[in-house]
Symmetry: C2
Subunit: 350 residues, 2 copies
């Protein structure tokens, strides 16, 4: 039996999610395990495909640990990909080098016959084995974050067959046949609950739900395709694991952030780079934890401009339940020494 | 001497920009002259390149008028492209079929030597001739909207050499060398003032500034690269033409819309599809005109779902200074009969 209360006390990352301010703020960075690290590139080169790396617990655990060893972040995030879910369901996913993901698109309800929750066992088991190894290997003070893509965002890739700038395939399907699209969202919602449950049982201390394309939806569709399925996931996970914080990241939806929080009841939110600090302050003052929101491109540039922005963010969020993070993933061009500089600056900021 | 006061009385489109509610609301649609119309495709096929069409007053005026003839919109928008400005400045722009724009990128201050305001005369004159013809050809009750891209958004294409999902080339340049990037923004700001001045002198009744990539910037950069240059354009145009409304469209920046309005002093804003109606209401209640924000993909689907959303938007914005529009441009797959249905519905909505 896990002692979640003792975990909360040991891991400073978790305290903002109990509405507590921590000084200096906990810090981790989205995509902190990635191509900007030479030791990651070495493992990646040995791993075969990108998904092979996700499905090989030894290697996935190793790349998750690399940034913890280098920078001592307060949280590690499971190395995986949001497209593990459609891949495990039976819609095969390939990653062409430099091209992003490719799937055989599912453009209408007829294509859903390809998918089955019962398909997911083996692949989810491999991811959960990674989580298990990490929970044993990580320092006691380091939290382990599990994650999934939100149903809406995963559905956009499944419908388009790749990344897109406007998510037109999924948005169009949802307008043409909302009942059919609801079936896809329901499959993804139920599968995500199973997947996250497995990750928590294997040792994840917190969960983040990435909704990268939440910002492309009109208000009613945001309520139906973003808020409702996320709320269902939150309810199901909280019922079984009331002490595990759930973080939402509805990217590009800063104007709807309070609506999202009210509707989903997440314990905290990640904020993207464009979110004004005043919005982050307002939310944190309600007791919800806020993560964010340094521009990853400023981390590439570094120097005084980086220091100043880090200070501004930390000063603005001081005394509030806050976790320092980027507003989007680290880019491959990032000099690792700038990451070290960032972490030192955040920790001096108290 | 133009009698701007009489124009205001004749053209219902202009009244919301004097803080007046109009019932039914004026309606026009972004990219209303475009590939969804067979008569547009015919002219386009005869015109050579896309920019040739923009630079041929006969044809550019013809495609601007086509949707007015079909649907009787309350405003026509000059058929042109935001990349006319870099093209005229000397950074040659090509449009490859189905690939979007291509430019030889300018990635640092050294590349600015290629650009000169004195280069722009001939090409701007062709655009202004189109405006002149339109102002003579349009019905007296139809307003003519001129436009330009905002300096920030135009700069993103100039730095990247094409469209991009993250505007990384411009954002990175702006972090690495803010003083150099400021020079590019200054060139674009001054050129835009000259360009818009020419359009108004030729007969444009209102101006829209399209900032499609405003949503990718962090707060401080939004202030420097979006708000400041737009404010400078607004001041310069208003000083010469105090009766000509200036509309801003900072796409993807709904959470910063009030900051944008306060900082730029535009007469009205366009709101993208993801902007909550409550945000639009709040702004319109301050007396600023608001345009928006039907999802263009719902216009493709049509039917009852379209009718219901049109009604909801019109009912929510009733009694406020409001112009019905899309939240983004019409897509080529749009059935023209759905546009007719939309216009009839808006006009019945009072």
């Amino acid at each position: 039996m896990r002692d979640l209360k003792s975990e909360l006390l040991d891991k400073r990352f978790l305290q903002p999610f109990a509405s507590k301010a921590v000084a200096p703020p906990p810090v981790w960075l989205m995509r902190q395990a990635g191509r900007y690290l030479p030791e990651y590139r070495q493992v990646r080169a040995e791993a075969g495909s990108f998904l092979d790396l996700c499905y090989t617990p030894d290697l996935a655990a190793e790349v998750t640990l690399q940034p913890i060893r280098r920078f001592g972040f307060d949280a590690a995030i499971l190395f995986s990909d949001i497209l593990v879910v459609p891949d495990a369901l039976g819609q095969s996913v390939r990653f062409a080098e430099g091209e992003g993901p490719r799937l055989d698109p599912i453009k209408s309800v007829a294509g859903l016959a390809r998918l089955a929750l019962s398909n997911t066992n083996d692949k989810f088991a491999l991811v959960c084995e990674t989580v298990q190894r990490l929970s044993e290997a990580l320092p006691r003070e380091t939290a382990l974050i599990g994650f999934c893509g939100a149903p809406w965002t995963v559905a956009t890739y499944m419908a388009e067959g790749k990344g897109s700038s406007d998510q037109a395939a999924a948005r169009g399907w949802a307008y043409r046949d909302p009942a059919g699209f609801q079936q896809l969202i329901d499959i993804l919602t139920e599968t995500s609950i199973v997947y996250l449950t497995g990750q928590i049982e294997a040792g994840a201390n917190a969960i983040q739900i990435f909704d990268s394309w939440a910002g492309s939806l009109a208000e009613n569709e945001f309520a139906r395709w973003v808020i409702a399925p996320t709320a269902r996931i939150v309810r199901a996970i909280r019922e079984r694991f009331p002490a595990v914080p759930i973080i939402g990241f509805p990217r590009g939806a800063a104007a709807s952030l309070q609506t999202y929080i009210d509707g989903t009841d997440v314990d905290g939110v990640s904020c993207d780079t464009s979110c004004p600090l005043s919005v982050m302050q307002t939310i944190a003052r309600t007791g919800k934890a806020v993560q964010g929101n340094l521009d990853p491109l400023l981390l590439v540039t570094g120097g005084d401009a980086l220091d100043q922005r880090v200070d501004t963010i930390c000063e603005t969020m001081a005394g509030l339940p806050f976790v320092f993070n980027l507003g989007h993933g680290i880019v491959p061009e990032t000099p690792p020494e700038n990451v070290a500089r960032l972490v030192a600056r955040v920790r001096k900021a108290s």
